[in-house]
């Protein structure tokens, strides 16, 4: 009873925040709304007896990723209410995708109705830290390692893209390389011309 009420409370909050995220033209309002969605979702995870996932959801998504997004928005300080006429055709695409999502949602409702009823046992250990750790480092070791390598690559890529080459000047390594090749090409052309 209480969990149902809480679920509808948090689910409603999440949906309201999601709509507000899409609706607002000011990117900072959208970012704040997205934080609201994350917090509502993490509350739902708590009611589903998965406190670890809830805490990680807040710590990583709301606390780290969205802070960076807000940081970038604040740095850029975009103007409000820019006319977006050139994106008109996207309304049709968005409508189509939304329709597919709606059909999927109803299909999930249908599947859940058909499935035998199962109540969530609050005492079960599925969402506990220990069981998640054990599953990650035994059953799902390979995916974890692959994701780790992928994240490492992303970090190295990020570092290389913004590496400081000369004091006081940010340049892309790619540009540097292109400049070097252009120079070589010019030298070669010069030699050919000679």
């Amino acid at each position: 009873m209480a969990s149902t009420v809480l679920f509808f409370l948090f689910a409603g909050f999440a949906i309201a925040c999601a709509i507000s995220m899409v609706y607002h033209k000011n990117p900072l309002y959208s970012a704040i709304s997205l934080v609201g969605v994350f917090i509502a979702l993490s509350c739902i995870y708590v009611t589903l007896a998965a406190p670890f996932i809830a805490a990680v959801q807040i710590l990583i998504y709301a606390g780290a990723i969205m802070v960076l997004v807000v940081f970038v928005i604040m740095l850029l300080n975009l103007d409000e209410d820019k006319p977006l006429n050139r994106l008109r055709y996207l309304y049709a695409v968005g409508g189509g995708l939304g329709l597919i999502l709606l059909v999927q949602t109803f299909f999930i409702f249908y599947a859940v109705m058909r499935a035998p009823q199962q109540s969530v046992d609050v005492e079960q250990t599925a969402g506990k830290t220990l069981s998640i750790g054990q599953a990650m480092y035994t059953e799902y070791l390979l995916p974890v390692e692959i994701v780790g390598v992928l994240l490492l690559m992303a970090i190295i890529g990020g570092v290389i893209l913004v590496r400081r080459l000369e004091p006081g000047q940010l340049r892309l390594v790619v540009n540097e390389e292109l400049d070097r090749r252009n120079e070589e090409q010019e030298k070669d052309d010069f030699r050919v011309a000679l």
Partner: protein
């Protein structure tokens, strides 16, 4: 009626617990402000506030009244909604971790002594006996969750929004600079802080705050300040940066930024930011105490009182608050002693010294834990 009351009983207990804990923490925070002014006064050869009440003890209430009755100025060009939201976010995120603080050990039978006196009473007697029965093995924590450490770190990391949004929505260059500095600083030092906590979590084998205390309970030499001394130092330094305190109070450096992110805030909204800062100080002091100083554990106390008895819990609770107050005093002491960093020094220190140190500590701890367990 009776069954309805019995159903509502847990909610009443939780409400009372939350009320008591929040009130207690806010009182400690209010007197931290007074203590700060007093101690700073002594460090600088002054007396400090001594007009309101004897020895200035009513100063926090006078300050609060002043905050309430000051003119509330809202800048014309501010983004209204976000401008009002920011202080609320800051204070809410500062107060929320209170629900997982382990204020003391479990009490085996807190109301058992009352039962013999009231059994003869007509209606109240059975009710009190029933409540005493329910109160058996009472924890002195509001919410016993499995991932207390992550909860505290997560909620405090959401607190950055309060400051960042305040800086952005005020529409003032000083506020924006303060907000940007603060977000950058908190993101940077959060990493070092999380990494320094990892060592303790690995040694204790749990993320539960009470579990971490129980892992340190055997003797004071098991307090993690000894095996995790590097982690402790990193955590303490990162905590100064996370709470925007001297020597890392760049977001409100008054010589450069007027007052930083709260330049445009006045009256009660400024008071909310002010309270949030001090509640955050309290939070990191609690984390320091729980993670590195054994929380409420007093060495040798189990020889004097039986564990689980009321005096044991009381002395433990007082010891817990005492350890926190020692950390709060350390904060004030540092504020009275050290000058402020420059921003590039702060960033270099965080990324190039503190984070590698914390990561090295984690790696060494991994090997030690592995060797001890194998």
């Amino acid at each position: 009626m009776e069954s309805a009351l019995k159903t509502a009983f847990p909610f009443i207990v939780y409400s009372v617990g939350i009320l008591l804990a929040f009130q207690g923490v806010l009182m400690i925070v209010a007197y931290t402000v007074l203590a700060e002014r007093k101690v700073l006064g002594w460090i600088q050869g002054r007396i400090g506030p001594n007009r309101v009440g004897p020895w200035g003890v009513l100063q926090p209430f006078a300050d609060l009244l002043k905050f309430i009755f000051k003119e509330d100025i809202v800048p014309d060009k501010s983004t209204r909604f976000v401008y009002f939201l920011a202080p609320l976010v800051a204070l809410t995120c500062a107060l929320l971790p209170i629900v997982v603080y382990p204020f003391g050990p479990r009490i085996a039978d807190p109301l058992g002594w009352l039962v013999p006196y009231v059994t003869d009473w007509p209606t109240l007697g059975p009710a009190i006996s029933w409540i005493a029965e329910q109160a058996r093995n009472m924890p002195l924590t509001i919410a016993q969750i499995d991932v207390g450490v992550l909860f505290v770190l997560g909620i405090t990391s959401v607190g950055v929004y309060g400051i960042a949004l305040a800086g952005w929505s005020s529409n003032s260059k000083y506020s924006l600079m303060g907000g940007l500095r603060s977000s950058a600083q908190m993101i940077s030092y959060e990493l070092a802080m999380g990494a320094s906590v990892l060592g303790v979590v690995m040694l204790a084998g749990t993320l539960d705050l009470n579990g971490i205390i129980h892992a340190q309970i055997t003797s004071p030499f098991r307090w993690y300040i000894i095996p995790q001394f590097i982690g402790f130092v990193v955590f303490l330094i990162a905590a100064f940066a996370e709470t925007n305190r001297v020597p890392f109070d760049l977001p409100e450096a008054e010589t450069e930024l007027v007052a930083g992110f709260h330049t445009e805030y006045s009256a009660l909204k400024f008071a909310l930011f002010f309270m949030a800062e001090y509640v955050n100080m309290f939070t990191v002091s609690v984390m320091c105490t729980v993670l590195f100083l054994g929380g409420w554990y007093v060495p040798g106390l189990s020889h004097i009182f039986e564990p689980g008895s009321i005096p044991y819990a009381l002395v433990s609770h007082v010891a817990f608050i005492g350890k926190i107050c020692a950390f709060l005093f350390f904060y004030i002491w540092v504020r009275g002693t050290l000058p402020r960093f420059r921003f590039d020094q702060l960033m270099n220190f965080g990324w190039k010294f503190l984070l590698p140190l914390a990561l090295a500590n984690v790696i060494v701890t991994i090997f030690v834990v592995y060797l001890l367990n194998s």
